[in-house]
């Protein structure tokens, strides 16, 4: 069993100090919703919610950062309701 509190604090610190300052450039932000053992639940908001590049940001960026800094994390779950995004930075098209 991982030290969930410690893990949660470390992920939260990462979001506040590295992830959100970066995605803020596109009006976005990321919220840590929960940590269940080593599974992390994230929600993307602002320009990230519904953005056509959200998966790139999450899978190739945020996930790598978390893996590098908090290697105990095994799963990352995006619980964002992307369809309700009111102002996505990039709107998907065909």
């Amino acid at each position: 069993m991982a030290d969930v509190l410690d893990l949660k604090e470390r992920v939260q610190h990462l979001i506040v100090t590295m992830i959100n300052p970066a995605v803020a450039a596109h009006g976005g932000f990321v919220t840590l919703v929960d940590v269940d053992d080593t599974r992390v639940y994230l929600e993307m908001g602002g320009g990230c919610q519904g953005c056509g590049a959200a998966d790139v940001t999450l899978r190739a960026g945020i996930e790598r950062l978390i893996r590098d800094e908090v290697p105990e994390v095994t799963d990352i779950v995006d619980v964002t309701d992307h369809a309700s995004g009111a102002n996505p930075f990039y709107q998907p098209g065909k």
Partner: protein, 430 residues
């Protein structure tokens, strides 16, 4: 595999870079629908994933070797940039995910010695006039056609045209700007309407091909789409989709795709044969292919378009192969030179509706989602436009309100489920 893919989960370790793993470059425009399905497929395959987009990622500074920006509109520059990158970090495959990146993908592959379509073939798929000329030269059945320059007198061009005809921009996708004309006044009106679309800044920026229109004879008949995979020039058909809603114009909004096709076996064989001929005529050799054809008992198959990419939108979610592989996993495995396994589609019928935009305005609300999802046979309903967004119908627009996915025992049942679910949705657009 179910069509719905939220919430999205992945193993954190899947995203890691490793010298021991093959390195794959995905070319992903920032506005494509195809990001999620390709990225998830790449991570499932366990590759060292490098992503290039046309705009810099917000996290590019943190991952300069994995999140790149490339000028997709300048394939030579994109290839030069990746040649330099690959000297430090060799790449095993490059995969362009949609139309906007196929030429850059071919140029990069050529520069790096990777297997891909020739650049000239990729270019031919991106210009409808060049494509039509190559197909005609090779004797591939298709409509008679002519080119009309936007700076010429439209009344004169209208007088020369045969009716009914279809006017098309050379460089746009998703039926954007495609208009049927039944007489000279409609022809002139269509020219002016398409010219306005081509003058929009993001379209004009495409440059090549925005000064000319293609005029084709209207081809009556049922329209089908063929999804295929080319391996050293040999076409493997993955699926043939029927498009049961008539596409007779004046605009050509695609709505329902259902597979397997209900065309007679001989007609499907003819569709496969003509598509293979078309791919050969264009010089396509490797990777995914998406073809659209008309078929009639009187005329047989006629090629409408061929694209060197997989099916657009979220429509690939209708497809599952072998033990459950997605279309994207097959495409990436092939690019990496891995065995693709069985390319036999699942036994059940599957369908997708690209939810049409009934009129222009601002999307205020969507109701009936739960009722639509509760229809037997419906796997998911995904709304891809957001509340508050300005929605633009064809021919000026190029997006859909969302997608409905179904699976059923028969194509008729899959289609009926889509129509039933769509009836239960209510969009408020003001």
């Amino acid at each position: 595999m179910p069509a719905g893919r939220t919430p999205s989960t992945s193993r954190a370790s899947d995203g890691a870079g490793s010298a021991a793993r093959p390195r794959l470059l995905l070319l992903i425009p920032t506005t494509t629908y195809r990001t999620e399905d390709f990225v998830e497929a790449a991570l499932r395959l366990g590759v060292d994933l490098v992503i290039a987009s046309d705009e810099p990622s917000t996290l590019a500074e943190a991952f300069p070797d994995h999140l790149l920006a490339l000028p997709f509109a300048d394939p030579a520059a994109a290839a030069a940039a990746m040649r330099g990158y690959a000297e430090r970090r060799p790449l095993d495959a490059v995969v362009p995910v949609d139309d906007a990146t196929v030429v850059a993908g071919a140029a990069i592959a050529e520069a790096l010695g990777l297997r891909a379509n020739p650049v000239a073939a990729a270019r031919a798929t991106r210009n409808k006039l060049a494509m039509r000329r190559r197909l005609a030269e090779a004797g591939v059945p298709g409509p008679a056609f002519a080119a009309v320059r936007l700076d010429e007198d439209p009344e004169g061009a209208a007088a020369r045209a045969r009716y009914p005809c279809v006017l098309k921009p050379l460089v746009l996708s998703a039926s954007r700007g495609v208009i049927r004309a039944d007489d000279p006044p409609a022809f002139v009106a269509a020219v002016r309407r398409i010219a306005a679309i081509l003058a929009e800044p993001e379209v004009a920026a495409l440059g090549e091909g925005t000064d000319t229109l293609l005029v084709e004879d209207f081809v009556p008949g049922a329209e089908v789409a063929l999804e295929g995979l080319l391996e050293d020039g040999r076409l493997e058909t993955l699926a043939i989709f029927d498009k049961p809603d008539p596409l007779d114009g004046p605009y050509f909004e695609e709505t329902i795709y259902v597979t397997p096709s209900r065309l007679p076996a001989a007609a499907q064989a003819a569709v496969r044969g003509v598509t293979a001929d078309a791919a050969r005529a264009l010089g396509l050799r490797h990777g995914p292919l998406h073809a659209e054809l008309r078929w009639s008992a009187a005329g047989g198959p006629a090629v409408i378009e061929i694209a060197a990419r997989s099916i657009g939108g979220l429509c690939s979610r209708t497809l599952a192969f072998g033990t459950g592989l997605t279309l994207e996993e097959i495409i990436l495995a092939q690019a990496l030179g891995r065995p693709t396994g069985s390319l036999v589609r699942e036994r059940r019928a599957a369908g997708v509706m690209m939810i049409p935009i009934p009129r222009g305005g601002v999307l205020e609300d969507v109701k009936g989602l739960e009722a639509a999802r509760a229809v037997p046979g419906i796997e998911d309903v995904t709304i891809t436009m957001h509340k508050g967004q300005t929605v633009v119908p064809l021919p000026e627009g190029s997006r859909y309100l969302g997608f409905i996915f179904s699976r059923a025992e028969t194509p008729a049942e899959a289609e009926a489920a889509l129509r039933d679910a769509h009836r239960r949705l209510a969009f408020t657009i003001r």
